[in-house]
Every structure is written in structure tokens, then in C-alpha cells.
């Protein structure tokens, strides 16, 4: 119990929020809008899983928003050229992986600090996309939305895909050696290297994987509507890092559970619709978001202080 204190406290906070909504705004719990909300957040969950891995590995990637935007637009353009959707998906994942590889090569290969590398790539990709697209949307042909399936089926497919990825990754982290290697590299890269793990290769791999997941998430987002907005993905890095941190993953690496990230993401994603349902003005959203992040990190700090006394 104590070991999972952070994850449980996030889940508890989420529970309290849902309880408050049940009492004061039961209209929140209608099935169709909830499904729409969860489907909208499914791509973010996928990216948050990748971000959790990166942070556990003691790195950070703030370029995910720009990667997401580029992959979305590319996927949209390929779909508009009537490529088979499977190819479009593969292309999106590969492009994301390529971006991840670029980040990974600079961080693992040259040993540059990840926050600055991803800051530079974030700005470069974003401005490059703006320059090339000039804000023009991509119109998708019929049959692309929801993969051509009926809406309900499409929505459930996306939600289940996101959950499947979450569960698979959580299991892999716990039971497979590679999962333990990631935790090891995040705790102490030098000790990991002496133990025979190759930290630079792991770091590189984590960035590539992050990029691939971002590409997948971009595809999942693209098929949710008949047009692609090149500004999609704005603020994604903030959302996912906040979800990961609130969910109990330590920014110093080496600890954290994916189901905590899941709870953190749900908590943060529910703020906006909760405010609408509770008839609270929209401009309180950022204050509450910031307060939750601070509360989460302060709880961490207080526990650590008590432990060290």
C-alpha cells in the first residue's frame, strides 16, 4: 500500500472529483458524451505512456506536440491521396519514429541534455510545419473517419486500442527484462552500464518508441474527424508531462507506474468538462490545473522529507 501511495492518492483524487460530480452535476455521467470525452483523450493517453517511459529513463521530451502535428498532417495528406489506411498508419508511425530517432541520436549519441535538444526540435518542427502548410487544413476523403466504421464502433476501437497499449506497456515494464532495464537506466545509468545494460542504446530506443507512439496517436486523432487542423497537438507536451508527474512518476527517473499516469491523465482531462457541468467559468481551468500539479509534487516532497528524518 505504502509503495503505491502516490498512485493511490491520484486515483483517490479522481474518485473524489467524480463523486462531487455525481452529487452536483449528475448530467456528467451520460454514456455518449463520456464515450466522446474518453475517445478524445485516447491519443493523449498513448502519448502519455510514451512520455512516462521517457521520464522514467530520466530524460524528457517536450517536442511531442510538434511531432504530433507533423504526423497528423502527413497522415491526412497521405489519406487524401487515397493510400490504403493501413499504409497511412504505418507511415505516421514511421515518421514519428524518425523524429524520435533524431532526438535519441542527439541525446544518446552526443550526450546532449534532452530538455534542450527537444526544445530545439520542438521549435524547428513546429515552425517548419507552419511555413510549409501556412495553416491550411487537410480535407480527408469520405471513409477515412473512424476507418469507415460506424461512429460507435470506431470510438470503442480507439478507446480499446489505447487501453490495450497501456496494459501491454504496464505489463512489459513489470515482467519483461527490458522494463527493468528502463527503470535501471533511469535510477543510475552508470550502475546499469556496469551491470551490462547499455544505457545509451536504451535511451535511444526509448526516444524512438516515444516517437512511434506519437505517430500512432496522431493517426488515432486524425481519423476522429473529417479534417486535419495543423494546430492540433498544441499543448500536448504540457498535458502529458503534467499527467505523468501527477500520476506519480518521479522526474528524477527510476520510479513510476503507468496506471498512476492513467489516473493522472483522467483527472486533468476531467477538469474542463467538470467546470462546464458545474457552471464554473472557463478561465479557472489553468488555475486548477496548476494547483493540482503543485499539490501532487508537494505531496511527494512532504513524504520524502518525512522519510529522510
Amino acid at each position: 500500500m505504502k509503495k503505491y501511495f502516490r498512485e493511490i492518492s491520484v486515483a483517490a483524487a479522481l474518485g473524489i472529483l467524480l463523486l462531487a460530480l455525481a452529487v452536483f452535476a449528475p448530467s456528467f455521467f451520460q454514456p455518449q458524451p463520456l464515450l466522446s470525452l474518453v475517445t478524445r483523450e485516447a491519443p493523449t493517453l498513448v502519448v502519455a505512456c510514451g512520455m512516462a517511459l521517457v521520464i522514467i529513463c530520466r530524460q524528457i521530451d517536450i517536442s511531442v506536440g510538434s511531432q504530433f502535428a507533423v504526423c497528423s498532417v502527413c497522415a491526412g495528406l497521405f489519406a487524401a491521396m487515397h493510400w490504403p489506411l493501413v499504409l497511412v498508419l504505418a507511415a505516421s508511425v514511421l515518421i514519428g519514429a524518425a523524429f524520435g530517432a533524431f532526438n535519441g541520436a542527439l541525446v544518446a549519441g552526443l550526450g546532449l541534455p534532452s530538455i534542450v535538444v527537444t526544445l530545439a526540435t520542438m521549435v524547428t518542427w513546429r515552425e517548419g510545419l507552419r511555413w510549409l502548410r501556412q495553416g491550411v487544413w487537410v480535407d480527408l476523403p469520405n471513409g477515412v473517419q473512424w476507418f469507415g466504421l460506424p461512429q460507435m464502433t470506431g470510438q470503442w476501437t480507439l478507446v480499446l486500442v489505447a487501453l490495450a497499449i497501456l496494459i501491454l506497456l504496464a505489463l512489459a515494464l513489470k515482467h519483461f527484462a527490458i522494463g527493468r532495464f528502463i527503470y535501471a537506466v533511469g535510477s543510475d545509468a552508470e550502475a546499469a552500464r556496469l551491470a551490462g545494460i547499455r544505457p545509451r542504446l536504451m535511451t535511444f530506443g526509448v526516444f524512438v518508441f516515444m516517437g512511434a507512439l506519437t505517430g500512432l496517436a496522431a493517426m488515432m486523432n486524425t481519423i476522429q474527424s473529417p479534417q486535419v487542423d495543423p494546430n492540433s497537438g498544441t499543448g500536448l507536451e504540457l498535458k502529458t508531462i503534467a499527467a505523468v508527474v501527477v500520476g506519480g512518476v518521479a522526474i528524477s527517473g527510476g520510479r513510476g507506474k503507468l496506471w498512476g499516469v492513467f489516473a493522472g491523465l483522467l483527472l486533468l482531462a476531467c477538469i474542463s468538462p467538470a467546470l462546464t457541468h458545474l457552471h464554473v467559468e472557463a478561465y479557472w481551468e489553468k488555475v486548477i490545473q496548476g494547483a493540482i500539479i503543485l499539490l501532487a509534487v508537494v505531496t511527494d516532497g512532504l513524504r520524502n522529507r518525512r522519510k529522510s528524518i
Binding site: 524528457i60 542527439l106 552526443l110 550526450g111 546532449l112 541534455p113 530538455i115 534542450v116 535538444v117 526544445l119 530545439a120 526540435t121 520542438m122 521549435v123 524547428t124 513546429r126 515552425e127 517548419g128 507552419r130 511555413w131 552500464r193 556496469l194 551490462g196 504540457l238 508531462i241 503534467a242 508527474v245 522526474i251 528524477s252 467559468e281 472557463a282 478561465y283 479557472w284 481551468e285 489553468k286 488555475v287 486548477i288 490545473q289 496548476g290 494547483a291 493540482i292 500539479i293 503543485l294 509534487v297 508537494v298 511527494d300 516532497g301 512532504l302 520524502n304 522529507r305
Partner: protein
């Protein structure tokens, strides 16, 4: 930084020198290609446009030197700007008093960051990520998003828009800040303690440095400087809105890292930061004057940042490779 070489090589290969050369190349290039770029008017404009970011970058330098980071400075600028407007318009304070109160708020906000980071020893990235949202949210909540403060008296707007003795008025504030921070970082024991804390907080503590107090100091300073930048921003624009300063923190961090300060702390300089701010500001202005698309400025800044980083590590890598060739590799001998 190559400190193990002597003579002119050590000056030529220093990060700051290379950055200075880059800056000079930018200037010469845009002067040739752009229209009316290298004029006195434009230089004043570049100064005026980069004043607030320059102030934030200056304040960010000691923060990063201690191995921390402050993502909340842009949002704090927005919050201070609207509070300044509110103090003046709604509370009826005379402008100097409103300015003093705003700086007080900036110090308090910096104090919030400081108490969480220095006292509770929480990771600066996450704390300032939280305050980044919190301050911007407070700015939006206080103004309901829509309220803006305008119609400031001309004597105040002078600070942001006019020239005093031939140079832009806010440049004087900036120069004062540059002198203050340069002295603080390079000529006082405070500055030396920042570097020590950046290298190793534990080692610094054992050396008798009051780590908590020093770290608190840099974040409170950052808060105060954000407030001053907010006042200058309001004077320059003639208007205060809740979205003031959006994106400034990343700009400031870019300038600091470009200038040779290591993001991990312990290494860096104020003149490096100045060169970084200048390089980015000149780049933006040059691209506009050369009638190139504005997005290129952002892209080139990203490329420049990566090159600057790679440039700092390459010498170490090369000497590391050279060393490895001559010594047996230990790793393979472990059974």
C-alpha cells in the same frame, strides 16, 4: 569550454567567442541582404524588442547555474502586467506605487517557487510547470480573460517607447540589470556559490554554503525581474492583457543555453547569455528585414541551439575518443 589549452586558442575556442563570431556574421549578412537593417533606428528597435526577454534571460542565468530552471517567468510577467494595471486603474494608486506593489507581488511569486524548490526540495522543473499554469490562470481569472488595461499617461509610456539621450529608455533599465547580474554572478561570493550548488548541492552544503538560502535567492530575484519586465512590456505596448509574455520562458532558456550555460548547472556566464539574446534578436530582426518568411527565424534558432550544444560537447567527445584508443577498454574485461 577548453580550459586545458593555452594562449589564443583558449580564447578563440571559447563558447562565447564563437557565439560572438556567429553574431557578427549574422549582422554582416543581414546588413548586406536586408533593407535598412544596420541602421541606428533598427538597432534601437532590436534593443527595445529584446528588452523584456533579455531581462528574463538575465534572471534565468543564476537559476540555471544552480542547476534549476524556471518555466514560470513568462506567466508571471502576464500576471504582474495585469496586476500593475489593476493597481493603477482600479485601486487608484499612483504609478510609482503601483510599480512598487507589482514588484512586491513578483517577489512573493518568486518566493512561492523558492519555498517549494529550496525548502521542500522539490524538482524545479515540475514546481515551475505548476506555477506556469497557476500564474497564467490567475491572470486570466482576475481579468476574466477579457479585461485589458490601457490609457496610461504619456510620462509612463515614455519608458517603453521613447528615447532618452538617444538610446531607448528601457535600455537603461536593462543595462542596470546587466551590470547587477554580471557583478552578482562573476564578482561576488554569491555567484561562486551558485556555480558550486550547480556542480554539487551536497558538496556545497558540506563546504558551508547555505544552499537553501542561495537557491531561494535566485528564484525570488527571477520573480522581481519578471515584474520589472512586465512594467516595461506594458509601457512598450501601452496595454496590459492576461496573455502577456506567452512563450517568453522558452525564449529565455534558449538564449541562456545558447550563451554557453549548461542546463545542468555549474557552468555559464552572464556575457554568454547577453550574446545569446543578441544572436536571437538579431536573427529575428534580420529575417524580417531581408523579407524572408518569419518561420525561418524560429527554425534557424532551433538549428543554432543544437549546433551550439553539439559544439560544446564535440571537443570532449573527440578527446575522449582519442583517449580510449590509447587505453584498454575496461568494460570488456568484466566476466
Amino acid at each position: 569550454m577548453n580550459t586545458d589549452q593555452h594562449g589564443y586558442k583558449s580564447i578563440l575556442l571559447r563558447h562565447e567567442t564563437i557565439l560572438f563570431v556567429v553574431l557578427a556574421v549574422e549582422w554582416i549578412f543581414f546588413d548586406a541582404v536586408g533593407h535598412n537593417f544596420g541602421t541606428y533606428d533598427n538597432t534601437c528597435d532590436i534593443l527595445r524588442h529584446s528588452c523584456e526577454i533579455g531581462l528574463l534571460a538575465l534572471a534565468m542565468t543564476p537559476v540555471i547555474l544552480t542547476g534549476g530552471i524556471d518555466l514560470s517567468v513568462g506567466s508571471l510577467l502576464g500576471l504582474c502586467a495585469i496586476l500593475f494595471g489593476k493597481f493603477w486603474r482600479d485601486a487608484g494608486m499612483p504609478l510609482p506605487l503601483a510599480a512598487a506593489c507589482t514588484i512586491g507581488v513578483g517577489a512573493l511569486a518568486g518566493g512561492l517557487n523558492a519555498s517549494l524548490i529550496a525548502w521542500l526540495r522539490l524538482p524545479p522543473l515540475i514546481v515551475t510547470l505548476g506555477t506556469f499554469s497557476l500564474f497564467r490562470g490567475l491572470a486570466e481569472a482576475i481579468t476574466h480573460g477579457v479585461d485589458t488595461f490601457t490609457d496610461f499617461p504619456a510620462s509612463f509610456l515614455f519608458l517603453g517607447q521613447e528615447r532618452w539621450l538617444g538610446i531607448p529608455a528601457q535600455a537603461l533599465v536593462f543595462i542596470a540589470a546587466v551590470i547587477f547580474f554580471w557583478l552578482l554572478v562573476h564578482r561576488t561570493t554569491f555567484g561562486r556559490s551558485f556555480r558550486a550548488i550547480g556542480f554539487s548541492p551536497e558538496g556545497a552544503r558540506y563546504a558551508g554554503i547555505p544552499v537553501g538560502r542561495r537557491m531561494a535567492m535566485v528564484y525570488v530575484l527571477a520573480g522581481i525581474v519578471s515584474a520589472i519586465a512586465a512594467i516595461i512590456y506594458t509601457a512598450r505596448l501601452g496595454q496590459a492583457k492576461a496573455d502577456a509574455g506567452t512563450g517568453y520562458e522558452l525564449f529565455a532558456i534558449t538564449a541562456v543555453v545558447l550563451g554557453g550555460t549548461s542546463i545542468f548547472g555549474g557552468v555559464g556566464s552572464v556575457h554568454g547569455t547577453l550574446l545569446g539574446v543578441a544572436a536571437i534578436a538579431v536573427l529575428h530582426s534580420g529575417i524580417a528585414h531581408a523579407l524572408l518568411p518569419g518561420e525561418m527565424a524560429g527554425m534557424l534558432t532551433g538549428v543554432l541551439l543544437i549546433l551550439a550544444l553539439a559544439g560544446s560537447t564535440l571537443p570532449k567527445m573527440i578527446s575522449g575518443l582519442r583517449a580510449r584508443k590509447s587505453t584498454p577498454r575496461l568494460a570488456k574485461q568484466i566476466p
